[in-house]
């Protein structure tokens, strides 16, 4: 039996996202699929499962090696979505740190990859709103009526994108600053 929960988490709410998925697992729903704001679970026995997410990006040249390493270290790949990899492992009661990172330095690189990805994929958006639209205005083109709605939509999207990038950049700097040196 499937259960779909609509919930939106951002990378800076990762702790809450992990808590939500782990609690679902304790209630007997195992995560099978992740899309933006949409989590699909499958009914099962209630069990304690530990979750961790990594952002690897869309460069898949060394993906096989990457997944093999996680598998060997005891992690199962649950789902991969837009460069994010959702891993889990069953809780065995052993007392050791079940994070996929030993230190903030290696954790910060995850957010560096995410920032780079967002800036590259966001570039067409920035180009449209910041360069193309102002330029079209100068030439005074005759635009169809819905065009202004489109521009407003794009402008809102750009502001949101910048907000997300800044929040993640803050997260990244916090990790970098906490590196002991």
């Amino acid at each position: 039996m499937q259960k779909v929960v609509k919930k939106l988490f951002f990378p800076w709410n990762e702790e809450d996202e992990i808590k939500f998925i782990e609690e679902m697992s304790l209630k007997g729903y195992q995560l099978t699929r992740v899309q933006l704001g949409r989590y699909t679970f499958e009914k099962s026995e209630p069990k304690r499962v530990v979750y961790q997410f990594d952002f690897k990006g869309i460069d898949s040249r060394d993906e096989q090696e990457y997944l093999q390493l996680y598998e060997d270290a005891g992690w199962n790949l649950v789902y991969k979505h837009a460069g994010w990899y959702y891993f889990n492992r069953e809780w065995t009661g052993e007392e050791f740190d079940l994070s996929i990172f030993n230190n903030n330095r290696s954790k910060s690189i995850k957010y560096k990859r995410l920032l780079l990805f967002l800036l590259i994929t966001g570039f067409p958006l920035y180009y449209n709103t910041l360069i193309l639209f102002p330029a079209l205005r100068v030439y005074n083109y005759q635009m169809p009526g819905y065009y202004s709605v489109f521009i407003i939509f794009m402008a809102i999207l750009t502001v949101l994108h910048i907000f997300v990038v800044l929040r993640i950049a803050r997260l990244y700097w916090k990790l970098v600053r906490s590196i002991k040196e």
């Binding site: 961790q52 990594d54 096989q64 090696e65 990457y66 093999q68 390493l69 996680y70 060997d72 270290a73 992690w75 891993f87 050791f96 740190d97 994070s99 996929i100 990172f101 030993n102 230190n103 330095r105 290696s106 954790k107 690189i109 995850k110």
Partner: protein, 108 residues
């Protein structure tokens, strides 16, 4: 010294142990096991950290891929390069000096 390796110093604990483990050819999981054994169970390299350490050591040519011909394709094997050896030797001397001074100053 073959090239300026001092700029990679100091290595983090995870990178130091990853590099050190690769005096012999090993794949990722082999590194985790060996480091755990060497450190008496204290250091358990986490998958994400190890992946990052391997990528960065490879990028800086401190380790290299072992000939893939008779190795299974799924798990790649790595080993230390000459620069990697220089760096480890430099780190050992540096850490020795730090430990010596620590012992003297703290009168252990």
């Amino acid at each position: 010294m073959s090239r300026n390796i001092v700029k990679f110093s100091p290595l983090t604990e995870a990178s130091f142990y990853t590099l050190l483990a690769l005096v012999e050819p090993l794949h990722g999981y082999g590194i985790i096991k060996k480091v755990e054994k060497m450190s008496g169970g204290r250091v358990r390299l986490a998958a994400g950290t190890l992946y990052g350490a391997i990528s960065s050591l490879l990028r800086n040519q401190l380790i290299e891929l072992v000939d893939e011909e008779n190795v299974s394709r799924k798990r790649k094997m790595y080993k230390m390069t000459l620069s990697g050896q220089d760096l480890i030797n430099y780190e050992i001397k540096r850490l020795q000096e730090m430990v010596r001074n620590g012992l003297i100053e703290m009168e252990v």
